[in-house]
């Protein structure tokens, strides 16, 4: 099912949560809505589900205008952040709920068979008789997914699907959700504030800030070509240097890097920790090492540039470097934004 949002607006009391968002999601696509809290991502998801109504604009499911269709008729599967499993029903009853209340009458045996199938799909065979309070968080998450899938939704919507889980469980479930998506091919949108999760899982990432889309694209596109400093910083650690662009080259202190297409004048230069290097002699940004943190794969160096800007970068594990050492930071790769 293809989904189209057309200039969608949502205001809560006096706070505008979503400002005219337009978005197209292709049938079978797996899309992440990524943004910090307050960016409107959950509100957008809830509007797609019909759990909130848009104040303005339209939401289309295929050719149908779904803007005003209530959630129960929209044919979406929704996985809630804290799962919202019915505590008084067993796992099997939870999964079978949608089928048992459906207008399409199914026999008990039919429902039971489908529940078994779904339990197998989410790898919870044999746990059908437990109550939600008696299983782990990761298992609850999978029950919630099975329950949403049981109604054969046209669209699957997940609100911070891994937010409440431990890091290692989260990792496994992420990969597994990707597999399920591949197997079932349902159009899927999920909301997350975790950029790693979005990049790992999604075909396309939609980055939101204060109720507006700032950039969307494949993980490759948004990582390689962030449109603005917000996206760049949100996607991962970055060092910021102020400098100047002259004739297609950005200059900060003694460091210099190509900045094709950036207008001349003052500019911000962003570089990931892996994209900076250290040398005892110039040219480069003069800096003094303040601390060295040893990590399994690399050494993280924290330094203070002569201009007063803090810098963080990684060097190879073998590299000898100590706090107090003075030297120069060079740019291997950077992204330059004009400040003009």
């Amino acid at each position: 099912m293809k989904i189209r949002l057309d200039n969608v607006i949502k205001t809560f009391d006096t706070f505008r949560a979503v400002h005219g968002v337009s978005l197209e999601i292709e049938s079978g696509e797996l899309v992440a809505l990524l943004g910090p809290s307050g960016s409107g991502k959950t509100t957008i998801l809830r509007m797609v589900a019909g759990l909130e109504y848009a104040d303005g604009g339209h939401i289309h499911f295929g050719d149908q205008d779904a803007t005003d269709i209530p959630v129960r008729n929209r044919g979406v599967g929704f996985v809630f952040q804290h799962y919202a499993l019915f505590p008084h029903m067993t796992v099997a009853e939870n999964i079978g709920f949608g089928m048992s209340v459906s207008k399409v009458k199914r026999s008990k045996a039919e429902i039971a068979a489908r529940v078994r199938q779904l339990l197998a799909l989410v790898r919870l065979d044999g746990l059908g008789d437990r109550f939600p309070g008696q299983i782990s968080g990761g298992q609850r998450q999978r029950v919630a997914l099975a329950r949403a899938l049981a109604v054969d939704p046209k669209v699957l919507l997940l609100d911070e699907p891994f937010g409440a889980l431990d890091a290692n469980v989260r990792h496994d479930l992420r990969r597994w959700l990707r597999e399920i998506h591949q197997e079932l091919g349902i159009t899927t949108i999920f909301v997350t504030h975790d950029q790693e999760e979005a990049l790992d899982l999604a075909d396309r990432v939609v980055i939101l800030k204060e109720g507006r889309i700032v950039q969307q694209g494949t993980p490759q596109e948004v990582c390689r070509d962030p449109r603005d400093p917000f996206v760049l910083k949100f996607l991962g650690d970055a060092n910021r240097l102020t400098g100047e662009v002259r004739a297609g080259r950005a200059i900060a202190g003694g460091a210099e890097i190509a900045a094709p297409g950036v207008a001349d004048g003052p500019a911000e230069i962003f570089a990931r920790p892996r994209d900076l290097d250290w040398s005892e002699s110039g040219p480069g940004v003069a800096a003094t090492v303040t601390r060295v943190l040893d990590r399994p794969g690399e050494r993280r160096v924290i330094a203070l540039a002569g201009t007063g800007e803090p810098l963080e970068f990684d060097v190879e594990p073998e590299r000898a470097i100590v706090a107090g050492e003075a030297g120069f930071v060079t740019l291997r790769r950077a992204k330059v934004f004009s400040l003009a």
Binding site: T11, Y53, H58, T67
Partner: protein, 295 residues
């Protein structure tokens, strides 16, 4: 479609306008008939014979004596009950000891016991045919058919009032603050006054208000232990019954109006205290009798 559809919310269960309006209508009508009408009729009946008759009833020595009895009873029973409630809540929430669950159940018993049963039970302790009756009679100590009996019976019916407000709250607050205070060298009393009390004061007051209302209005238990002696052991509720059965309905309603006004003030105090966070029951995840125990 216009672009000004501000504030629309998807309907929740039961939000269908027709259903919503009818349910509100039914509830309001029934509420007015069942709750409001009895309150209004008290006022109407009290003034049926005019202001003068109303004032005359309230000024009558028997009425004044009944008011005095009620106030004195409350002045004794409520503070004693409050002290008990605090002690019970402190021991139950700050310590673990065997039999704690049983103690909780016993404290709540008066809620499920008929006031008449309570009155009869007191008769068999302090009455002539009871446990201590003959001994008390020999030493000329009067408990039944006198103020002490009324106070004791009032204490029975209100025993759980303060404790049940404090226990869930103090349970939820845990012991950390008090343990910190004692570890810093504060004495037990100081810890209670400086650390515990500020956190429970509204709940405490809430319990006191409800306890007071019940003490002032108690009828069944008190009617058995008081002996109903006009001008001597009559509390206000008993005085109302006496007047009513004497075919002095207007007088009965005039006396009742005092208690009705107290009831309205009790409700106002209750609402005010609830705004400060008192009295909000925790979710009934455990049976009422074991509300204070941690699983």
């Amino acid at each position: 479609m216009s672009h000004t559809r501000h504030g629309r919310k998807p309907p929740r269960v039961g939000d269908h306008p027709l259903f919503r309006r009818s349910l509100i209508g039914i509830v309001l009508v029934l509420g007015a008939l069942l709750i409001l009408a009895p309150l209004i009729v008290i006022g109407v009946e009290a003034f049926r014979q005019g202001w003068q008759a109303y004032i005359a009833t309230l000024a009558h020595p028997d009425t004044r004596h009944a008011i005095m009895m009620t106030v004195v009873t409350a002045l004794i029973a409520v503070p004693v009950n409050t002290a008990f409630g605090i002690a019970a809540a402190w021991s139950i929430t700050k310590f673990d000891f065997p039999g704690k669950r049983l103690l909780l159940v016993v404290i709540e018993i008066p809620f499920s016991v008929s006031p008449i049963v309570a009155g009869v039970a007191y008769l068999f302790v302090y009455g002539l045919q009871g446990l201590f009756g003959p001994w008390l009679d020999q030493h000329d100590i009067k408990i039944l058919f006198a103020l002490p009996g009324i106070v004791l019976a009032s204490m029975f019916v209100t025993a759980p009032f303060v404790a049940r407000e404090l226990i869930p709250l103090m349970q939820a607050q845990g012991r950390d603050l008090e343990e910190a205070a004692t570890s810093l060298g504060a004495s037990g009393w100081r810890t209670f006054l400086a650390v515990t009390l500020p956190n429970i004061k509204w709940a405490l007051l809430y319990g006191v208000v409800l306890c007071n209302a019940r003490v002032m209005g108690e009828f069944g238990a008190v009617s058995i232990v008081s002996g109903n002696i006009r001008g001597q052991t009559n509390t206000l509720p008993l005085h109302i019954e006496l007047l009513y059965h004497d075919y002095q309905a207007a007088g009965a309603f005039a006396s009742a109006s005092i208690l009705a006004v107290i009831a309205v003030f009790t409700i106002i105090a209750k609402v005010a205290l609830e705004r400060r966070g008192a009295g909000r029951r925790k979710v009934l995840a455990s049976p009422p009798a074991s509300e204070g125990t941690r699983p």
